[in-house]
Amino acid sequence: MSGRRVTGRAARGRLRRAAGRGLGFVAWRLLQALLVLWAAFTLAFGVLYLLPSDPVTIMASGGGEATSVTEEQLADLRAEYGLDQSAWRQYATRLLDAAHGDFGASVQTGEPVRRVIAEALPPTVQLTATALVLAVVGGAGLALAATYTRLRRLRQLLLSLPAAGVSAPTFWVGLLLIQVVSFRWGLLPAIGQDGWRSLVLPSLTLSLPSGAVLAQVFARSLRTALAEPWAETARAKGASRLRVHFAHAARNAALPPLTVAGLLLGNLLSGSVVVETVFSRAGLGRTTAQAVGAQDIPLVLGVVAFGAAVYVLANLLVDLCYPLLDPRVRAGRAVTA
């Protein structure tokens, strides 16, 4: 084996390692995020455009009031949407446009998809953000209370709640809340969107399944953490239960629920479809439901891409939070790189 070959290989190895470290964790994760986005777009494109049905016929019959459309008109439409071209060419054009944020125009209104989404977004952001806060506060609070209490009955009751929350369907909870809180008690408005009062019921409904999952995961990891030997070390110092719980166990137990929270953001977004429909709120969820109903394909593709972007971004943020919570993740990166 010649010396040059050896050093060549060693150099390549060094380069690889340097790429792992020097390029950095963040850049690597960004690259992954882009890959996921591209995959989501491609999949949605495949499903929507390459299915056996003819998108133009669907558009022509579903989008407008015209009942009979001539072949010529259909051909014109195809040309307008670029559908007469090969699938690859269409895909390439769409992808390139999408990369610039251009998803074409909505079939229903003719407005650019980007503007439709941007206009529908604020109320949905309000709803999902409130729901996220409720889910995190409620879920974490429930988990902390359930593991902290020494009353066995109470603990069992609290720990059984999340299972119920996960299994209750969102629309049913929404209708139940409307029935009881709005109609019977008359406390809060059932529908519409003016002021915080109209936000309470929908966000509560939306947060329930997510909060329940968070509570389950966090309670479990808290119980594991509290049984660790280092928790005993803390107790042996004379630390109070409260201190062991919050100053030691909570942060150690936070990683699994954090991971779940990233995934749940996607759930919240898709849950807004049901909740906005049940509570008659305007927003991205309702827009999506209408777009699907009207088979407004460019709009659906835009919403899918947007949802994927939010999802990817949320999980990227979660990944970036790990090293802040657990120093071993920092070290692990340096060692395994």
Binding site: A236, G238, A239, S240, R328
Partner: protein
Amino acid sequence: MTVPDTRPGAEDAAGAADVAGAEGAPAAGESPPLLAVRGLRVAYGETEVVRGVDLDVCRGETVALVGASGSGKSTTAHALVGLLPGGGRRTAGRIAFDGEDLAAAPERRLRERRGRDIGLVPQDPMVALNPVQRVGRQVAEALLVHRLATRRAARERAVELLGHAGLPDPETTAVQYPHELSGGMRQRVLIAVALAAGPRLLIADEPTSALDVTVQRQILDHLERLARESGTALLLITHDLGVAADRAARTLVMSRGEVVEHGPTAEVLGNPRHADTRRLLAAAPSLAWPGPGGRAPAGPAPAGPAADPGRADPGRADPGRAEGARAEAGRGGELLLAEGLVKDFPLPRATGRRALRAVDGVGFHVARGETFALVGESGSGKSTTARLAVGLARPTAGRVCFAGQDLAGLRPGELRRLRRRMQIVYQNPYSSLDPRHTVAELIGEPLRAFRTHGRRERTRRAAELLDQVALPSAALRRRPRELSGGQRQRVALARALALEPDLVVCDEPVSALDVSVQAQILTLLATLQRELGLAYLFISHDLAVVRQIAHRVGVMQQGRLVETGPAERLFTAPAHPYTRQLLAAIPGGRARAEGRP
């Protein structure tokens, strides 16, 4: 083994320290003992594990509570401070501490006592520190929870305490996280935590089993000094009678939840009446070993090189392993060669220094069929050296050759193939085996990873391997938690042997085990070496263990290899002062000096 019933303290200055502790013995003192336990019973569910223990500890006294694993000694210790793990409860008994019955005290009162009056040094340092908090903060917490210092003062005091506990660079350690410290360093941190609030009683649960002999002595000397100066009493829970012999004025021996023997340490060790005491005595490697210049080991496992004349030529290839000799001829059977190894670790910015040099120009070789032991204190770089040797970490400088091939020059695929021939057995058999897998799956895992055997073949091979490590084939279906520590280490060994390696790196393979089990595992290692022609790179802090297994020994200190030589020569005629210091620090040394075995 005959032992003259000498009173400790009639001998040297070190023995006098024992007497200082003994003065507070119950017979002599008029004041009531600091801790008086009467009829303590603890049960897990229906199973009673502590059955009526009586125990006295006087002010400033050192008492040893000795027993094999499962004897209830550790449970007793935890019951004293009301820290039984889930499912455990005290069913009867009085625990009078300084006149107050802790068994009847409310949790709030117990909490005030914990740490402040009674410190606890836990057992397994690897898992006993909060992994997401800096070490200094964890020490300072012990002061803060009892409001003994302001935040700032507590931080400064924490650094001091870390220094007292024997950490060489307390300022750096204080800003590090537990995973950045070795096991020994972590145990020293835990000792700093336990001593922080200046307790009157320190309960140390196997405090030094993970520590190097020299540090054991430093720590225990420190505890003794503390006891003398401030009247801190020490309840030492241990399985090592050598530790008890050196330190404790009185010794209690526990077996199956009961105290079966108690009295002045010299009497208990000199005239053991209970079978368990005799067993513990026979198994203690530190007491069985005669010391430098003494006669050949009389311990239960004389598995050292001298026991097997066939080992005189370690380079000799075993006929059954002829294929193992493969193509790397010309090196004279030299299997592993390390030259000028250097390894730097980056340090956190707060310390002001760039890097920590863990390994500093280390070179050695391991021949086929030979055991080369690296000994040194924790933090001496011996584990890092082992990781470099098998290519698990990249050296900053220097090179490693395995079977004539330079590891640095290999492609990942080639390195992986070469790794088949070097396997590792880790210190902790509890954490190195995945609890969800059965033994058959655990042993079959490397076979699956390298796709050497089909599914059915794997089970057959797993049974064969179990047989090699002397476990019944019924164990195949068990899971790790159903096995004892010794059995688990046998499983770990079987897994390491699955791919028929040429070299097995043993990283403290027996230091997490009971002494009697240690001896069995060491014997097994020697037998396997004879039968399979294995080479061992044996990492240990325990010289008594190394003496039983190694052909050649390298002594490491602060990243450097200060002395290398044949085991016999090194133990009988150590050249380097540090080696002499290590030899002198083996526990049981005082007992030996007094003419015990």
